[in-house]
Amino acid sequence: MGEFRMPSLGADMNVGTLVQWNVKPGDAIKRGDIIAVVGTEKADIEVEVYETGMVDKLIAQPGDKLPVGTPIAFIRVAGEAEGKVEAPITAEAPVQPPQAEKPSGRRVKASPLARKLAQDLGLDIEKIQGTGLHGVIEKHDVELAAQARVPAAPEGVAGPAPAEPAAGMRHAIAVAMARSNREIPHYYLSTQIDVSKALAWLERFNQRRSIEDRVLPIALLLKAVAHGLAQVPELNGFWIDDQLKPSPEINLGVAISLRRGGLMIPAILAAHHKSVEELMTALRDLITRARSGRLRSSEITEGTVTVTNLGDLGVETVYGVIYPPQVALVGFGRITEQPWAENGMLGVRPVLTATLAADHRATDGHRGAQFLEALKHLLEEPESL
């Protein structure tokens, strides 16, 4: 028997609310099935299961707000004997944000302020998950633990729980971005790219298609990013346990702004295996579902790098903040007509500024520059895509 636990749906999540079960005891399930919906501060997420078997028992009830890692169901994995409890089953991605290890008998790493606050709130510091450097428990970790205390904390001692969805979204972004700035030594590189050939290629491509099937420039940019990352794989992966863990899959997290405010970063999975057309289809699907609150857990947790495009808002250069534990973020600005010198001649070209924000623990500027050079080459020679 395996415990199905409250999944971690991103670096900014410490607690989740079970919104609904899509299964009941006795139901057969297979890997990839959506078995529950979990509410986070940002959105409700459809949670997939990563095992095949049968639902044995549902522990959590809709409405329960539980810390990440709390068992919420028992699942009998295919082929196992009844009644035996084995390893936990979670909906987490294979690689997750680093978690603090607190084996029994070892000193718990926590800031003095966090210890005092935990004591004041009557919380066991050993049961709190730290999100600071090397898993150190900090003040906000204690506040989150207080907020997630089950059953509900007595009135007046809960942490600064967001009162409404928009506040929850802001809080979740604040947690992830504060962690990023605290832990990740960013370095930034940028390059200007003549995209005249890329736009001409896209125009020819779109001429053959109905308006429903047209491809936006961002799909071509995503394709180029996936190709570029295949050439510089150190930028595609995670920084966990003080080391770089490159990912064999290139799952492009795409920053999608929501109309009610805030943003989500769901991923286009296996982007390197997709054509430009397939990337556009995947992006359309992802944006539509992100804005209607129907994203899946794998899309939230399996991004290996983030791409953000602020060109629509007139921004020329993007200096992004890396989404931990990822190690890079690629930013695109607006395409503007600019004077461009080539072969001793001056002309006017549509020019795009591409930016790389990268984790200096994982790579140096040399590798970052190689990535941007690859990106530039790919977009200046779009036939190679």
Binding site: E203, N206, Q207, I211, E212, R214, L216, P217, S257, D312
Partner: protein, 88 residues
């Protein structure tokens, strides 16, 4: 189809894309994307919706002519099935 009817079709297409916006408040010469705070994906969806409602195919090369509400109405009017649009 009158210009008023075309404008109404545009408003109807905008609603699901920018549900919190009241398209009646958009000035005719205002940049539509800025006024509605929509990105290129939303704008393409708007054109797809108009294609579905009015049957007008809008080539990509014409996108740059469709910045404001009045430009959109002027562009669509002669193309709408049933002949030229008329002012109410």
């Amino acid at each position: 189809m009158t210009e008023t009817e075309i404008r109404q079709a545009i408003f109807d297409a905008i609603r699901p894309i920018a549900p919190e916006a009241d398209p009646r408040n958009i000035r005719p010469d205002e940049n539509l994307r800025e006024a509605l705070d929509i990105d290129s994906f939303d704008f393409l969806n708007l054109l797809i919706a108009l294609h579905g409602r009015l049957g007008v195919e809008i080539p990509e090369s014409d996108y740059s002519q469709l910045t404001t509400l009045s430009e959109l109405v002027r562009y669509l009017a002669p193309k709408v099935a049933g002949g030229s649009a008329k002012a109410p």
